[in-house]
Point group: C2
Chain length 352, copies 2
């Protein structure tokens, strides 16, 4: 029987709750489609940091590296200073495991309420391919005269031809598999240096292939289009920060963070890829059963896809698509369904 090694990082707040459901549904898919997920739990995140001062010990990173994939719930706690867990855990894994693609589908599923008047599933099915190892996320920069009236702080976006080219090639492949259209999202008219590298590279990659059409949107215009006409997009390739911004907006458009999945991919499988819902740890609702596990379950579907378990991925997606309309506007006890009941229902559908 095929076996895939999965490191599970539940994390903080609602993270562990939604991850349990994602794993439950993925296991059910394994039983049906004939593979085994060998899961090991890792205690990482804000709670561990506050308890022990540790974010990601090197030994733990080495263990994680021994897995095929990592399934993350959410990390973050109000008591941890900004940046500690982000830089020390999530971004460290994205960078050190060279997960250079952050894949974020923005799809309005049938029966899911969206805040955008008149939007239908037909008009909202795009895939954001976010560069995930460069740009402003490099962390480059510093201070001079910190804490004085002369203080200066810099933050630098670092972009390489190799980095842009590989994510552009990935996006191109996705576009070719889908509706054949690729949009570059950047801000070339202001970020003239980085924008020049991005534009030239994406244009060249698209031209070589010859079957995909390309267009371009400034990030500010992109935000407007995502509200007014998301149907114009097929695959969108963009830099790390712009990808972060437009996919949270995309999450709002597709019905909320409870539905937004993501995969941090090392497409060459040279190191584990990592799958996580776009939402945070939502400490305010932790423990209440009010968290919607759909985003985590959809992230598990992306994980199965990456593992080559395509039929299983499709079955998991379908189960989410069937359960969501039953929930109405929101999950949670107030709707009569708890996090685990929703997971049970999805797992049941997958097993059938």
């Amino acid at each position: 029987m095929r076996e895939h090694r999965v490191a599970v990082v539940g994390g903080d707040g609602v993270g562990p709750e939604v991850t349990v459901e994602a794993a439950k549904v993925a296991h059910a898919a394994g039983e049906r489609f004939g593979f085994r997920l060998a899961t090991s739990d890792y205690d990482l995140g804000g709670d561990r940091y506050l308890r022990t001062g540790e974010v990601l010990p090197d030994a733990v990173e080495d263990e994680l590296r021994g897995h095929d994939v990592i399934l993350v719930g959410a990390v973050g706690s109000p008591d941890v200073p900004p940046g500690v867990l982000e830089r020390g855990l999530l971004l460290r894994l994205r960078f050190e495991f060279d997960q250079y693609v952050n894949l974020r589908p923005v799809r309005l599923l049938p029966g899911v309420p969206t805040p955008i008047a008149g939007l239908t599933p037909d008009g909202c099915d795009l895939l954001v391919v976010r560069e995930n190892t460069e740009g402003l996320y490099a962390g480059a920069g510093g201070h001079l005269y910190r804490g004085t009236p002369s203080e200066v702080a810099t933050q630098e976006s670092l972009n390489t031809r190799r980095g842009v080219e590989r994510v552009a090639r990935f996006a191109l492949r996705k576009a070719a598999e889908r509706r054949g259209h690729l949009t570059l999202c950047h801000k070339t008219n202001v970020l003239t240096h980085a924008g020049d590298l991005w534009y030239r590279t994406v244009e060249e990659v698209v031209a070589e292939a010859g079957e995909v059409t390309m267009d371009y949107a400034h990030v500010d215009a992109m935000c407007l289009y995502l509200v007014n006409d998301p149907g114009r997009f097929d695959v969108v390739v963009t830099d790390n920060l712009f990808g972060d911004i437009i996919t949270d907006l995309g999450a709002a458009v597709q019905g909320g963070l409870g539905l937004a999945a993501s995969g941090n991919l090392n497409p060459d499988r040279a190191a584990p890829s990592m799958f996580e819902p776009v939402h945070g740890s939502a400490p305010d609702i932790a423990g209440t059963g009010a968290a919607n596990p759909a985003a985590a379950v959809l992230s598990a579907a992306l994980m199965l896809e990456h593992l080559g378990e395509t039929d299983a991925a499709t079955a998991v997606e379908r189960s989410v698509g069937r359960v969501l309309p039953e929930l109405g506007a929101m999950a949670g006890p107030q709707m009569g369904y708890s996090t685990s009941q929703i997971g049970d229902r999805m797992a049941g559908l997958v097993a059938d």
Copy 2:
């Protein structure tokens, strides 16, 4: 009679058309409230660049400096490479005239259709105070090995204590005049250097005053909130790039770019301030009379406010508020009203 010197830069595409209407309405306000606008037209923008190769001759900049304010339509032409007009004209004026505040109201006016289901004017009245002379807009950065596989491109965000503090103080004053709440929008968990300076500075400025409450939103979350719950914001202070992004989104929320006004302020009046609609030159509809002049007219209202003509500013805003519901979903000939008819109607209401 009070006189204000206004440089008018119609620019490209629909720019001249909407600017004519904005000036018309502002003149009408002058007649009613007892001041004169001495306007001089300047031919700048993509057309001039394509004709003469000139973007902003130094002599013209000197002339502009001799005015109290500048009223801009839109600059930009598909035939001009990205960055030329932005850097050479708009950003140059913002920087050289030290227009360190970019003021962008995001308000849903009664009777205006918004794409957000269920949103009402009560739930959408915020003011974005965008830093306008620093950050990634400094243009810092460069290339190494351009055009080779080893190419590296950098783009640097430059932030100073002085720059952040002055825009924070401006935002604080606005918040105190309004509902007493200020939100900092940044990405402190990733842009740790710049974010640290921003957070500390805004927190200190707010603490000194003691009457305004402060909270914080990451730029990605901000985009989500702008769709799901814009009513939670009063004044938002943010950096140059984030301000650019969230105000285009804000424009979508408030009913479209046809309604979004902006002022580039030198609050100390050491140099002219500049007022421009957020929309671009929209070459596809230039000359058809389909452009809605509301954003330009509302920008003129911000201009009158800056000139101390508060009653006139209020009258202009009111006239826009009265005319918009008459237009239905969109302006333009298909609705039976052309750009100039809308301007006439607004001017008529102001004169009354």
